[in-house]
């Protein structure tokens, strides 16, 4: 079948729209159904209860911390994966991306056997007086574990599409590797880094399985918003639905802030002035 229509092709067959609409409805309908179930007159009291606010605050703080950890460890990881080649690189990438496909509860069990009291590192940490289990640190670790691949994938993609040309030029002009990284590479892939960070934040915000398995659940310490929703559901379905909607709203806001311009064309601006705008994936 010839689907090509020659030059200026940007038409999509009409039947694709129909299926796309069905896909969109599949995602939106459950959200609408949930919104319809919200006990609106009680909405404000339900979401501003002390336990809800504590859980929301904890979720935002831990997600911010895990996003920071994702940036600290994810940027070097993405650089190593995108810009160098060494034996075992493909294996390393596969393992770094593993938490993307791993059920979170499996991640929680793995973390338990690493940082838990009887765990691989936990025993030494315990001897040093550091206790991770049942602490907010455990929540951050669980979130970082599941969110790191999102940042690495986004950033590695951005690095690969940006290519190494500007970096090579900078190097020939005498810039040292660290200078090239700081002045050329990072500004060049800043949009990719930003979207990766936002995805990591959103994933951290929704993290449930690994936290429940590894960190436990205590108000103000380890009970994040998803755990609070899970618990409220036992007795107060109205509160659970109201809080779910809050979580959806936060996630939509966060993701919407950076994902609002997927169609923009690359401005192809040279990052000499330190500003890198435009998307890198048009460069292919």
């Amino acid at each position: 079948m010839d689907l090509g229509r020659g030059s200026g092709y940007h038409g999509v067959p009409r039947w694709v729209y129909a299926i796309a609409a069905a896909g969109g409805v599949f995602v939106l309908l459950p959200l609408a159904a949930m919104a319809a179930r919200v006990n609106w007159p009680q909405f404000i009291p339900l979401v501003t209860s002390e336990s809800s606010l504590t859980a929301l605050g904890l979720s935002l703080r831990t997600s911010a911390a895990s996003t920071a950890l994702c940036i600290i460890f994810g940027v070097p990881l993405a650089l190593v994966l995108a810009r160098s080649s060494f034996p075992g690189q493909r294996l390393l990438r596969a393992f770094v991306l593993l938490p993307l496909v791993l059920p979170p509860v499996v991640g929680g069990i793995a973390l338990l056997y690493t940082f838990g009291r009887q765990g691989l590192l936990g025993r030494s940490l315990e001897a040093a007086g550091i206790q991770i289990a049942f602490s907010t640190t455990a929540v951050v670790l669980a979130q970082t574990f599941v969110a790191l691949p999102f940042l690495v994938v986004s950033l590695e993609g951005a690095l690969r599409t940006a290519g190494g040309r500007y970096e090579a030029v900078a190097a020939t002009l005498g810039a040292r590797p660290t200078t090239v990284l700081r002045r050329v590479t990072v500004p060049l892939v800043l949009p990719g880094l930003a979207s990766g960070a936002v995805l990591s934040f959103a994933r951290s915000l929704g993290e449930f399985g690994a936290t429940l398995t590894f960190a436990g659940s205590l108000q103000g310490v380890t009970r994040t918003l998803p755990l609070e929703i899970y618990l409220q559901r036992e007795t107060d379905a109205d509160a659970a639905v109201a809080l779910s909607l809050v979580l959806v709203a936060v996630a939509v806001t966060v993701v919407g802030l950076t994902y609002r311009r997927p169609g923009q064309k690359d401005q192809r601006s040279v990052p000499a002035g330190g500003t890198a705008s435009g998307r890198m994936d048009g460069a292919r």
Binding site: M1, G11, A133, L212, L218, Q219
Partner: protein, 271 residues
């Protein structure tokens, strides 16, 4: 008008698939009703078919055994089991899940369904369960009594008040006059047990049947105050059941002598 070609082809393909699917669906559906209908009439009093049992997670071991006993006793019958937290199961049933029998770990969730008019007849209490302190086999914090749980530095994990085992823990706490400051309040008793078994926590409050079921992974420490919070397990036929005869037969097995024996073996008390 080239773009129409693929669309028509796709539509035709979809239509072909649909008719093929419908054609394939037809005959088996009609033949499958045959044996089922014949079976129930031919068995003459012997109930047959499939009974779907929604049971509290703590009943997993006992109900799995009772289900295979039931199938052996009633040839032609099949028991499908679904285990989860009692409130999850109650929610599922009220949302139309196809359950024939509901066995809850507390009377509250059964009452929820009874109040909504979703049960057939009255429920029967068939077992009781009490709390016990679970500690890792080495008992690192040297727990011997309930009051030891309140010692500073002891990492205690309990169920959250919202779930049945947590409500029982609260009652026991009050009865003992001891205030615990747990490091975690889990949403299921399985999670409490897991944290103790992995050595993460020094002690946890779980049901006596959980300790028994965990074998040598945890050690159980009974305490007198546990008697203040006895959990009663009710069982009932779900109103929307399509096989009430078989459901009643299964409930009879659970509440009868054989069920009693299996339940007692797992640590459940008599109702």
């Amino acid at each position: 008008m080239k773009s129409w070609n693929p669309r028509i082809t796709a539509l035709a393909a979809a239509a072909a698939l649909l008719t093929a699917g419908l054609a394939a669906c037809g005959p088996p559906a009609s033949t499958s009703t045959g044996p089922a209908g014949a079976g129930s009439s031919a068995a003459a009093g012997q109930p047959s078919g499939t009974v779907t049992v929604f049971a509290a997670a703590s009943l997993k071991a006992t109900f799995s055994k009772l289900a295979s006993d039931f199938e052996a006793k009633n040839p032609g019958s099949k028991v499908t089991l679904s285990f989860a937290g009692s409130s999850d199961l109650a929610t599922q049933i009220s949302q139309g899940a196809p359950a024939d029998v509901f066995a809850s770990a507390d009377t509250r969730n059964m009452a929820k369904l009874a109040d909504a008019g979703l049960l057939e007849g009255a429920e029967t209490n068939f077992a009781t369960n009490v709390l016990q302190i679970a500690v890792p086999p080495s008992n690192p914090a040297s727990i011997a009594a309930f009051a030891d749980l309140a010692r500073p530095g002891v990492k205690v994990v309990v169920c959250a008040s919202q779930v049945p085992c947590g409500a029982a823990s609260d009652t026991v706490e009050k009865a003992a006059g001891v205030t615990l400051s747990p490091v975690s309040e889990e949403s299921s008793v399985t999670d409490v047990l897991g944290k103790v078994a992995s050595g993460e926590a020094d002690a946890g409050l779980v049901y006596v049947t959980d300790v028994k079921g965990a074998g040598d992974k945890v050690k159980g420490i009974p305490f007198p105050e546990a008697g203040k919070a006895v959990n009663t397990y009710p069982i009932a036929t779900v109103g929307s059941s399509r096989n009430k005869e078989l459901a009643a037969a299964f409930i009879a097995l659970v509440t009868g002598a054989e069920g009693r024996k299996t339940l007692a073996g797992a640590g459940f008390g008599a109702p």
